[in-house]
Symmetry: D2
Subunit: 265 residues, 4 copies
C-alpha cells in the first residue's frame, strides 16, 4: 500500500513560533519521513498575518503549503503572493468571491495529487463568510479531482468543527482543526475513513495565553480595556498532527498528535 506521510502543524505565532519551526522542522520531516508539510501561518508575523519574507522562509525550511485563517488579511504585503497561480499560500476558501488568493491548492506528492483545502468557521467568529458545509461539498463535487484531500478547518466552535467532520467523513482524507491554539486530545479516524482532530494547537511560546503575554490578557480581563496583545517570548512548542493516508483510497490510515518543544528531542 502506497502511503502519503503528511505533517500538519498549527498556527505559528510570531518570532518565537517561527524560530521553533525553522529549528525543528527538518528533524521532524526526517523523523516522520514526511512527504508533505502543511503549516498554518496566519499568526507568523507579529501574531497577525504573514509577511512575504516569513512565508519564503517557511518554504525554504521544507513547508509545502501554508494555510491560514481569519488573521491572514492583516499583512497586505502577502496578497500578491496569494494571487499567483497555484500559490502555495492559501486562505479560507469560503470567503466571498472577490477577495485575494485562493482557498485550495493541489500539489504533487510521490506522483499523487494531494489537495489542501482551507475553510473558515462561522460560529462565534464574527465573520459571516459563506457556508463551509455547502462550500466544501460544492468544491469536492465540481472542482476537485484529487483522491487525497486534507482540510484545515479554521474555526472556534466545537459543534461546528465536529459537525463538518461528520459531514465530510468518507469524502476527504482528513479534517484538521486550527484557530483555538490549544491541541485537543480527540484525534481519531471516523467510520468513513476521515482523520479528525478538533484542534492541532499552535506553534509558539509555551508560557503564554494562545501565544501572547499572560499579564496583558489578565489585565484585559480585569479592566475590559482594549489593551494591545503582545507575542510572548519563551520556549516554543510545535503542535500538530502526523497523518498517514492510503494513496489509493484517499482514506486515513493513522493520525497522531505531535508535540515538539524547541529544546526537546
Amino acid at each position: 500500500m502506497k502511503k502519503i506521510s503528511a505533517l500538519v502543524l498549527g498556527d505559528v505565532v510570531g518570532q518565537p513560533g517561527c524560530r521553533a519551526l525553522f529549528f525543528k522542522l527538518p528533524g521532524l520531516i526526517k523523523k516522520y519521513k514526511a512527504d508533505l508539510v502543511v503549516v498554518n501561518g496566519e499568526n507568523a508575523s507579529d501574531g497577525f498575518g504573514i509577511l512575504p519574507e516569513d512565508a519564503e522562509k517557511f518554504f525554504s525550511k521544507g513547508v509545502d503549503v501554508i494555510t491560514t485563517g481569519n488573521h491572514i488579511w492583516q499583512k497586505r504585503e502577502i496578497y500578491p503572493l496569494m494571487d499567483k497561480e497555484n500559490s502555495s499560500i492559501i486562505r479560507p476558501a469560503n470567503y466571498p468571491p472577490g477577495v485575494p488568493g485562493s482557498g485550495s491548492v493541489t500539489v504533487n506528492v510521490k506522483g499523487e495529487d494531494v489537495t489542501v483545502l482551507n475553510l473558515l468557521g462561522r460560529v462565534r467568529m464574527g465573520m459571516p463568510v459563506d457556508c463551509p458545509f455547502r462550500h466544501s461539498s460544492d468544491f469536492l463535487k465540481k472542482h476537485n479531482k484529487s483522491k487525497i484531500v486534507i482540510v484545515d478547518f479554521h474555526a472556534e466552535d466545537v459543534m461546528e468543527k465536529e459537525s463538518l467532520a461528520w459531514y465530510l467523513d468518507g469524502k476527504v482524507s482528513a479534517v484538521v482543526g486550527t484557530h483555538t491554539h490549544v491541541q485537543t486530545a480527540d484525534e481519531r479516524i471516523l467510520p468513513g475513513g476521515t482523520a479528525y482532530i478538533t484542534d492541532i494547537g499552535m506553534t509558539g511560546p509555551k508560557d503564554s495565553v494562545i501565544g501572547t503575554k499572560p499579564e496583558i490578557s489578565i489585565e484585559r480581563s480585569l479592566t475590559q480595556l482594549p489593551l494591545k496583545v503582545e507575542v510572548a517570548d519563551n520556549e516554543s512548542v510545535i503542535h500538530g498532527v502526523h497523518l498517514l493516508i492510503d494513496a489509493e483510497s484517499g482514506k486515513a490510515v493513522s493520525i497522531d498528535r505531535i508535540v515538539q518543544s524547541e529544546t526537546g528531542e
Copy 2:
C-alpha cells in the same frame, strides 16, 4: 508527603453519559485510589440540567461534588437541593446575587479541607455574569480557608481560560476547564504550582457532536433552522483528569488525563 488524590470528570451527557459513569466510576476510584470525586453534571438529564434522581445516583456511585455550568438552570427541580446548606451540588459562583444555590463547597478529605469552586466564563458565552477573575480573587481572600482549592472553570474561550489559570497560579491547586466537551492535550502544572487543563472533555457518546446526534447538527448547519438537538446513544467515554495534590502546600503534584470508554478496561 500527604497527598490528596482527586478525580475530576467532565460534563456527563444524558443517559449514555450517566450509564458510563455509573458503570465505570467504582473501578476508576479504585484504580486511582481517589480520595475525592468531582463530576460536572450540567448535562446529565437529557442534556440540559440535572434532575434530583440523577444527582442522587451520582452520589450513590461515589461522586462527592457535582459542579455545573450554564445549563444547570434548565431543570428547576434541582433548585431546592442546591439551596440546602453545604450542598454538594454547586453552580458557577460568579452568577449574580439572588440565584439559587452556592458557588463552592468545602468537603473534608482525609482530614483536610478541600474547597471546590465553580466559575463561569463570560467570553462568547452570551451570559454576562460577574467577573470570574475578581470573583475568585475575592473568594480566596475573604471566604476561603482551605489550602486545597480545585476550580472548575466552565468556559468557552481559550484566552479567558488560560488567563484565569495564570491569574490563579500559585493561589489554587488546580484550574480545570469544562464546557467545550472536548478534552485538550495541554495538561500541565504552571510555575506557581497550579495544575491546569483547558478542558477535561465530556462523559458521553463517542460518535456524536458534543454528545448529540451528528445528523441533526449537520442539518442545523446547512439550513440554519432552530432544530432541537438530541443526545446521541452509542458507546460512551468518560473524560477527565486525575490530580495529585500535596495536602500541606495545596500545590499540585501531578495532573493526568483520563479517557475511559465504557466498554474498555
Copy 3:
C-alpha cells in the same frame, strides 16, 4: 403619475398586537388609501412564529403579504402554507436552500407587479445565513421583473441595515427595517430614489420590553437566569410606514412613519 400607496407594518407581537392590528387596520387602509398592505408577522402567535389561523385573520383584515424573520420557524404548523405556490407568507430569502417557504412574492397592485422581498441580517444575529447583499443583487438581476420592489430587511445591526440600503439605493423602491421592535426616526429617500428606515418598530403592547413583560426582562438582566419571556398585555400601538411609490419608475415618492395606538384616533 400613477402611484402605489403601501402600508408596511412592523412585527405584530402576540394577542395584544393582533388585537390592535385587526381593530385598526381597516381604518388605516382607508386613511392612507392603501393599495397594498405588508405586515411582519414573525411574533404574532405568543411571540414566536405565526399559526395558520392567525395568518388567515391577517389576510381577512386586509393584509396582502406577511413577511417574517428569524422567529418564523417556531410554529411548524405554518410551513405547509408557506410552501404553497405564490404563498403570501414569506420568510427571509437568504436562508440556505432547502428550508420551507419562499423569500419573495409578487402581487398585482392596480395592474402593476409589486415584489416584496424579505431578507435577514447576519451581524449580531447568531444565524449565519447567506449574504443578504449578494442574495438581493442576484435576485434583482436574475429573478425579478417587477419595477416596484419593497424589501423587509429583518436585522439587528445598524451598520448592516444602512449598508444594505445604500447598496440597493436606486435598485429597489424601499428598504424597510424590522426586528428591533423600536421605530427609528431616520426615514428618508436616498439619492437614488429608495425609501429607507432602519426600523419601522413593532405592533404590540406599549408598556413592555419589545412586547414582553418588563419585570421578567429586568429579572433576567439582574440574575442572568434563562427566564421565559411573556408577551405583555396593555394598550397596543401599531408602528410602520406609509410608502408612496411611482409606478412607472419604481422610485419612492414619500415615506412617512405611522404610529397608531389601538385606542387613539
Copy 4:
C-alpha cells in the same frame, strides 16, 4: 415650578460632527434656553475616542458634560483629563475598578445638583463590564445625593435598554440611549416620571453608515475583509433630545427629539 432645561446630544462623529456641533450649539442653547448641555463625545476624534483639544472645544462652545462609551479608550491622551477631580469628561461607570476616569459627575445648574451618570450595556457589545442594573442601583443608593439624575446608557440591545429604563423608572430623571447612532422615535415619559428614549442618534454626516463612508461598509459586507472604516464628510446633522425636568421632584416634564442639520434653521 422650577425647571431644568437640558440638551443631551448624541455621539459626535469626527470632524464633520464637531463642525456641526460647534456651529449650531450656541443657537440650540438659545433656542431651548438650555441650562445644561450634555454631549456624547466617544467618536469625536477621527471616530475613535476624543483628544484633549477637541474636548476643550466642546467646553468652549457651551458643553457642560461630555459622556462617552466603548470607544473612549482609543485616544489615551484624554486619560489625564478624565482622571482630574470632578472631571466633566466621564466614561461608563460600570467599567471594572482600576480604569481611568470616573463614571459620573455632579454639576450645579441654577442652584441645583444635577448628576450625569454614564453606563455601558453588555448585550451584543463584546465587553463584559459590570452589571449596569446593579451598578446604577448601588450608585443611587450609596453615592448619589442629587434629585436630578440624567443617565446616558450607551448600549446596543433594545431589550437591555428598555429593561434598564423600566428598572430605573421613578429613580432617575431620564434614561437616554446612545451608541447605535440612529435616533429612535420612542421618546416618552414612563409612568414613574423617567424620560426615556432608546437612542438619541449621532451628530455626524448624513450620507453615511453610522457616520462612516457607505462604500467601505458595503465592501466589508460583501467581502468580510477587515477594511478600515473612514468618517464620511458631508452635511452633518445634530441628533439629541431636549429634556425639561422638575427641579423639586427630579421627574421629567417633557422629552423632545432634536434633529438639527448644520445647514438648516
